[in-house]
Amino acid sequence: MQTNLMINGTQQQLELDPRTTLLDALRHHLGLTGTKKGCDHGQCGACTVMVNGRRINSCLTLACMHDEDEVTTIEGIGQPDNLSALQKAFVSEDGFQCGYCTPGQICSATAMLEEVKNGWPSHVTDDLDGQADLSTEEISERMSGNLCRCSAYPNIVEAIRKAAGEGA
């Protein structure tokens, strides 16, 4: 069936089997292979993209459910000659080892920092009515949907904190 998606600012018209997940549409139909397939069951976060500004698992949603939605993938966040603050911080803080989870980590963190700016509390926020800080505990909790098989977590947390401090 025909689905129109605005991907990284470009209108894309796709003819898809309804079974096609948003993840498979990105990777197999549009060649946007920055978004990774890890578990394909919403448990690892490697497939994280932003839809209408919110981070989601692209493996657990059908492309046809997102007709006319705006999708931002890692390719839309930055390019090798124009990295986002988070991408730069992941490089400078060595926030990865094999790198497979990294696009999902960066898409997730990009949206997560917006959530913090908008005053969203987390499970570890003491005061539901207050502003959360970016402690290690807060970052870890908010990023728990992104697994890193190499366990680069300490440097991922540092990269996110650094980018946040620079106003990512």
């Binding site: 069936m1 089997d17 309804p18 079974r19 997940t21 394909d40 069951h41 919403g42 976060g45 994280t48 919110r54 981070r55 989601i56 698992n57 657990l60 949603t61 059908l62 046809c64 459910m65 997730s108 949206a111 997560m112 959530e115 908008n118 005053g119 969203w120 509390p121 987390s122 499970h123 926020t125 539901l128 009515d129 870890s140 909790e141 908010r142 990023m143 728990s144 949907g145 992104n146």
Partner: protein, 328 residues
């Protein structure tokens, strides 16, 4: 995934009509698509309700809140009214799933998500919920995560929601729309069925009946908390959870609304537990009596025996926290 027809609902009646004809309703899809990939569910048609106007949170005339079925778990957890007046609900939502999943999962879908029993998910195993009459491989299997209350010989699955546990403590009701346009209201006790000899029937909803909203009663006085015990610090289902709303006046407990997750096939509430507490001074002895009542009929099956002492300690700990000021 098996092929299916994809239909986009134009209005709520359209959705109930399609669902009555056999289509499965899809909202966030975070659980349904997972089950479809594994072919645990293989619907011939999906009716997509995501574009219906069921995504508002409105105040009701009596000071409560009407939450549209399509309000996401993130939106609900972060609503400032919920954070201030029904904090147990925000806390329960924030304790569930991950940031990505909460952004997609909806209020109605959360209530109707399926158990995470490993034998339900494994099509090579007997499961009366997935395939009625095939047996229950979980009873004598790895049943560590499974239920100790409200079970039957046919099924020991737990209901996995955190949100529903808080809503049960808050006395929330669901509003539904049936095929043909009639509506009804059900509290969560009425909504969910215990497994009995038909574990495939999980709710009283009729074919085609759509949850359109959840209604919270007006806020109540007292302290609220949600305690979740799980295998890792974040992003894991509850082994045991407790939603508690407790009020103390003149040194005595005057309100104790308690609901439990991880223990039963539905968000569990036992008014006899609450009756033991209300009217009395908060003491550890009293809390132990309440736990005795909660677990009077609880039954472990080996791997999940630990849930009995864990539920006891969690309840006592929550009651201690909620009555701390009165006990000093």
């Amino acid at each position: 995934m098996r092929p299916f027809e994809y239909i986009r609902a134009q209005n709520p009646n359209d959705a109930t009509q399609s669902a009555a004809d056999g289509a499965i309703i899809i909202a966030g899809g975070t659980n349904l698509l997972d089950l479809m990939k594994l072919e645990v569910m293989a619907p011939d048609a999906l009716i997509d309700i995501n574009h219906l106007e069921l995504n508002q949170i409105e105040e009701t005339e009596n000071g409560g809140l009407r939450i549209g079925a399509l309000v996401t778990n993130s939106e609900l957890a972060n609503d400032i009214r919920v954070r201030r007046n029904w904090p147990v609900l925000s806390r329960a939502l924030l304790a569930g799933a991950s940031g990505q999943l909460r952004n997609k999962a909806t209020t109605g879908g959360n209530l109707l998500q399926r158990t995470r029993c490993l034998y339900f998910y494994d099509r090579a195993m007997a499961c009366n919920k997935r395939e009625p009459g095939s047996g229950c491989a979980a009873r004598e299997g790895f049943n560590r995560i499974l239920a100790v209350l409200g079970t039957s010989e046919h099924c020991i699955a737990t209901h996995p929601s955190d949100m529903a546990v808080a809503m049960r403590a808050l006395g929330a009701e669901v509003e539904t729309l049936k095929e043909g346009g009639t509506t009804r209201r059900l509290d969560l006790d009425e909504l969910y069925l215990l497994p009995g000899d038909r574990p495939d029937r999980e709710t009283v909803l009729e074919p085609g009946e759509l949850i359109t909203a959840v209604v919270l009663p007006a806020p109540v006085e007292g302290r609220q908390t949600y305690r979740k015990v799980r295998d890792r610090a974040s992003y894991a289902f509850a082994l045991v959870s407790v939603a508690g709303i407790l009020k103390i006046e003149d040194g005595r407990i005057t309100r104790a609304d308690l609901a439990f997750g991880g223990l039963a096939p539905k968000p569990w509430r036992d008014t006899q537990v609450e009756a033991i507490l209300v009217g009395n001074r908060p003491t550890e002895e009293l809390f132990e009596q309440a736990a005795d009542q909660l677990l009077a009929e609880a039954q472990g099956l080996g791997d999940n025996d630990f849930k009995l002492p864990l539920a006891r300690r969690t309840l006592v700990s929550v009651l201690t926290e909620l009555t701390q000021e009165a006990r000093i």
